[in-house]
Symmetry: C2
Subunit: 297 residues, 2 copies
């Protein structure tokens, strides 16, 4: 496996069908499931590792975002990557970029409303990564369900010849969705954070039992979170998977039921995918033991 | 030569190094000079013909924009194109696109100030054409000098692996810059429009004689236009070629001295490139007889 710092070097190492897994590093089993899926379907697998400052609204969140490139490189290699593209910020943004990519509508609510400018930063860096690497397919986790809708819309609208693949959330055995930010949680916060996934699973059960109304589903999540104590969700919404439009009812196709909340100083998001055609919910993949996020470095 | 309506078909016909000449059709010798330059440097030459509604602010301007695809196809073929990509609007924009690409700063003044939204429309369609066709090089005329700066900035910022080539303005023998919109001018308007290029040439002469101050150069243009009668310029500015920043003096590198004005109902733009390193002005290429815009259809 090779570690490179430029798009030119990345393209030069890309032979045949190329799959890109864009990450901000500090990899966990969620990222590894993307790399493995890319490995199965492509001749070349590129993992990008870049903490994109454009998508951070809060300087503290950017500064404290966990980073460990050596760890990422060895995990990516084990999972089957051929190339790790780990550019410097001065390469990605030699000057503050004048160009920004915005996706209207899809990016307005939920994360868009609570993190102003976030999705412009995401759309701009993803457009740059897809333009610079020119992969045939790119792989994203469904934990960022709204981000996935933003990226799919961007790719359609700009006619980027890349197939966007969204893959299930990977969770700790107790349900907590994997996130690089989880390492910032204290043990007590880690325990309190569990209510997010537990409340979504309760709603998933009621969806599978026939409840399709947003009010009932989001109400169940809110009630479970309120019952647990001191976590105040930023939002709980039912949205269409394709375009992140908030809906009143899950009637046809795919939806996600999403929640965001701060646990201590750490902002967490989670969601479950609801398939209205089959009345089924995708609770993601549960690990059988603690994730690698808790391994000693 | 092949005429196709999809990006997939365009890419399938692109062998080896590919040059793209993006146009809105109704080709003239200016476009043909771009196609010929692309022919000299590439194995495949693609000419796109698409009147992009996103970049028109005025419905009348869009509706009256001249179109003749049969004429464009035969002219493109004669000039050496391999592929004409002439998509339907319903292919380019099956739904109103949610994604928009903006280039801050470069796009703010001059055309940006007088045609709100214009450059967002240009940047979005050019990003889409470059993403969909994936050329190695793309060719643009310097008549749209600010557009060229917008596109070069976009390509840098989004790391699009394409070389942007800007080529000299082609003019009628009497100096009028070629524009598809010229066909809308009455004979009397056609005669009045000449003051735009004539005033720029006067300023070019004073630049070559040592005048580098914006005030003197734009003042010379304004005075010549005012002396000629009833044309009121929308703007006259000296701007840096690289980023279209309006400057007070041409001190180092390339600049353009630009003018926009309505002649009757038709809005025209023109400019000359000033090379401050050599003290020289590029007045463009003058045809020896009437351009093909005046040929009977």
């Amino acid at each position: 496996m090779r570690v490179v710092e430029t798009f030119e070097a990345t393209r030069a190492l890309s032979e045949g069908r190329t799959g890109l897994v864009p990450t901000m590093g500090f990899l966990h089993e969620g990222h590894l499931s993307l790399i493995e899926a890319a490995r199965d379907a492509n001749e070349t697998v590129v993992v990008s590792v870049f903490v994109n400052p454009l998508q951070f609204g809060e300087p503290d969140d950017l500064a404290s975002y966990p980073r460990d490139l050596d760890r990422d490189v060895s995990l990516a290699a084990e999972a089957g990557a051929d190339v790790v593209f780990a550019p410097d910020e001065s390469y990605m943004y030699p000057v503050r970029p004048k160009t920004s990519v915005s996706v209207a509508g899809v990016a307005n609510d939920m994360e868009g409303a609570h993190r102003p400018g976030h999705f412009d930063g995401v759309a701009t860096v993803v457009a740059k990564l897809l333009s610079g690497v020119q992969p045939n397919a790119a792989y994203f986790g469904r934990k960022d369900a709204q981000q996935l809708a933003v990226i799919a819309t961007l790719v359609d609208d700009l006619s980027l010849p890349v197939h966007i693949v969204g893959l299930p959330i990977v969770r700790e055995s107790d349900g907590l969705a994997l996130s690089s930010r989880n390492v910032r949680l204290s043990p007590a916060e880690r325990a309190r954070a569990l209510v997010l996934s537990r409340s979504l699973f309760e709603a998933a059960g009621s969806f599978e039992a026939g409840e399709s109304k947003a009010g009932a589903l989001t109400g169940a999540v809110r009630a479970a979170i309120a019952a647990s104590g001191d976590i105040e969700p930023e939002y709980v919404e039912l949205a269409r998977a394709r375009d992140a439009a908030i809906v009143d009812e899950a009637v046809e196709g795919e939806y996600f039921l999403a929640v965001a909340a701060r646990v201590g100083a750490t902002r967490l998001i989670d969601n479950i995918t609801l398939d209205a055609d089959h009345g089924s919910a995708d609770r993601g993949i549960h690990l059988t033991g603690p994730s690698m996020l808790y391994e000693e470095g």
